[in-house]
């Protein structure tokens, strides 16, 4: 199984992940190698096996619908890259 450089570019786009153009070939090579490792899995028949998502097979715990956290809005805003009037700023989305 091997990945082309175009596929790497497409995956990086899906992940919104900037990658250096000069690194694309090495990512294609590394990921292809990792995928080769993965093909070992297909040697094993697993049609009757239930997938295991979590080691404890837990159900999601519920809690009482009550406020437990204090409002830390200002504290959280102090570590943001760009804020104004209590809002996070990003480049304009709608022209």
């Amino acid at each position: 199984m091997s990945l082309s450089t175009n596929e790497v570019i497409q995956i990086a786009h899906l992940a919104r992940l900037g990658i250096d153009p000069q690194d694309i070939d090495s990512y294609a090579k590394d990921l292809s190698g990792i995928l080769d490792l993965m093909t070992q899995m297909s040697e094993l028949k697993t049609s009757d096996v239930e997938p295991m998502a979590h080691p404890m097979d837990q159900v999601q715990r519920l809690r009482i619908d009550a406020v437990t956290e204090s409002n830390n809005r200002e504290k959280f805003m102090t570590i943001a890259p760009q804020v104004e009037d209590g809002l996070y700023l990003v480049p304009k989305v709608i022209e």
């Binding site: 900037g18 590394d30 094993l44 990003v90």
Partner: protein
């Protein structure tokens, strides 16, 4: 003072032999003196001295707990209120955590004194500490070699006696592998035993925090303070926390130890095999019975793990988008550019590789072939352990295929690096607890023995490790220059 056990330190503090301030200054001096190891990302000297002063007051008022006044260091994956928390990444180089992780909160409440934040592989992705944005950590046993990873700073700091003990986290071996390569004791608890709240997530169904210390006795004390149910972690398990120190001295007569033949195949190098056999013989002397077991699906642990962990990583790390915290690129032209460039600049190569791998494994058309398949194999591996643990009390094996490898030796080949996790990752897939203890040396580099137990039997693992440490002194060896 740096040669004492946690119990001896607590006695020294309570009897007035030394104060927490003196003890803290002693370790801060050692951290400064050995800064070339690069074990710390941030040293919190001022905060440490404040905590030490408060601890001395508590000690004077006789309001002590076992860790009161004792310095320790936190892996930089745990959020620490008002202290830089980087997770080893440029992405979080400017991140001052707005809250404490539960583990940090619990250790603070116990009166422990935080010396600083320890170096680690970026976002805990690595087996050598070389993926850290803050540079590689050196192994105190041989500074040309790696300390292991991802908790490499924790391993190096405890081995070099820069801190009496440290926290670590383990997603695929990140506590046990550095513990083995640095000659210390490291315990990965059962999944859900230690709260993950405020522990920056890598692969949420595998991540687990735990203690790294110089002996099982010390690890028991640290785990006692870290463990417990936490409503803030939805996967925390509500099981009572036993007294981890109470059973350390139980006899091992009649203990059934399973040796998976897959762990001791001809793939294991002969020096490693003979060192581990000596350790297992020691257990025979202690009254244990050795039984061969088989876990046929273990060989598929690496492919299964390297689908599941990157898949969870790609989802978890999508929160780093340059909007609310962390690195943001200069002058983004639009929102997509903001995301793409901030993430591209903030993450290092190994993190990107895993995000790409995970994104691919979860994408339309590949989800069943990779992700669901890997989860099915996870079930088979977990069942292998369950079956084996009906025949025996614990399973023993290697922690690593080799002793510490050279800095730069494997970093260029990701698959080679992934294969160094071969003996540890299956345990995370199953969610079981496992401990790594020093079991000898090959060419002056430490070797670890891994002991794997059933769910929520940490006290038993600590007992088994402690009994070995009563009849051997591997864990008391100190690297040259750090005595």
């Amino acid at each position: 003072m740096h040669t004492k056990t946690l119990t001896q330190l607590a006695q020294g503090l309570q009897s007035g032999q030394f104060s927490s301030i003196e003890l803290t200054k002693h370790f801060l001096d050692r951290i400064r003196k050995h800064s070339d190891l690069n074990a710390f990302i941030t040293v919190t000297e001022e905060l440490a001295l404040q905590s030490a002063l408060a601890a001395d007051t508590r000690i004077a008022n006789k309001q002590t707990q076992p860790l009161t006044g004792i310095p320790l260091a936190q892996k930089d994956i745990f959020c620490t209120l008002d202290v830089k928390t980087t997770c080893g990444s440029k992405m979080l180089d400017n991140f001052i955590a707005p809250y404490n992780a539960t583990v940090v909160e619990k250790l603070n409440q116990a009166g422990a004194v935080m010396l600083g934040k320890l170096n680690m592989d970026e976002f805990a992705m690595g087996s050598s500490n070389e993926t850290s944005y803050y540079g590689a950590v050196k192994n105190p046993w041989n500074t040309n070699t790696v300390p292991g990873g991802s908790s490499g700073g924790s391993g190096a700091a405890v081995a070099a006696r820069l801190a009496p003990c440290a926290t670590g986290t383990d997603t695929g071996g990140s506590i046990r592998q550095p513990a083995a390569l640095c000659g210390i004791t490291g315990l990965k608890p059962t999944y859900g035993r230690v709260s993950r709240y405020g522990m920056i997530a890598y692969a949420s169904s595998l991540d687990q925090g735990g203690p790294m210390a110089r002996s099982a006795e010390d690890a028991a004390i640290l785990l006692q303070a870290m463990a417990g149910f936490d409503t803030k972690d939805s996967t925390s398990v509500d099981v009572p926390v036993p007294d981890y120190s109470a059973q350390l001295n139980n006899s091992l007569a009649g203990l059934k130890i399973g040796l998976p033949k897959e762990f001791f195949s001809e793939d294991l190098n002969s020096d490693m095999a003979s060192t581990l056999q000596s350790a297992i013989n020691e257990y025979r002397q202690l009254g244990a019975e050795i039984i061969e077991v088989s876990m046929p699906n273990l060989k598929l642990a690496i492919p299964s793990y390297y689908v599941i962990a990157p898949a969870e990583c790609s989802a978890n790390l999508s929160r780093f988008d340059g909007v609310r915290f962390g690195h943001r690129c200069e002058s983004p032209v639009n929102l997509s550019d903001l995301y793409t460039r901030s993430r591209g600049e903030g993450f290092g190569k190994e993190v990107k590789r895993r995000i790409l791998m995970g994104t691919y494994a979860l994408s339309t058309g590949y989800y069943d072939a990779y992700y669901v398949k890997a989860q099915k194999i996870r079930r088979l591996i977990s069942d292998d352990f369950k079956n084996a643990l009906t025949q025996v009390d614990v399973i023993m094996g290697p922690v690593t295929p080799t002793t510490a490898f050279g800095i730069g030796e494997k970093i260029a080949d990701p698959i080679e690096m992934y294969l160094s996790d071969i003996y540890t990752i299956a345990i995370n897939l199953a969610g079981l607890p496992a401990i790594s203890i020093p079991a000898g040396f090959i060419n002056n580099l430490p070797v670890g023995l891994q002991i794997i137990g059933n769910y929520f039997t940490e006290e038993h693992l600590l007992n088994i490790a402690h009994q070995y440490q009563q009849v051997t002194d591997w864990h008391q060896q100190t690297p040259k220059g750090f005595e």
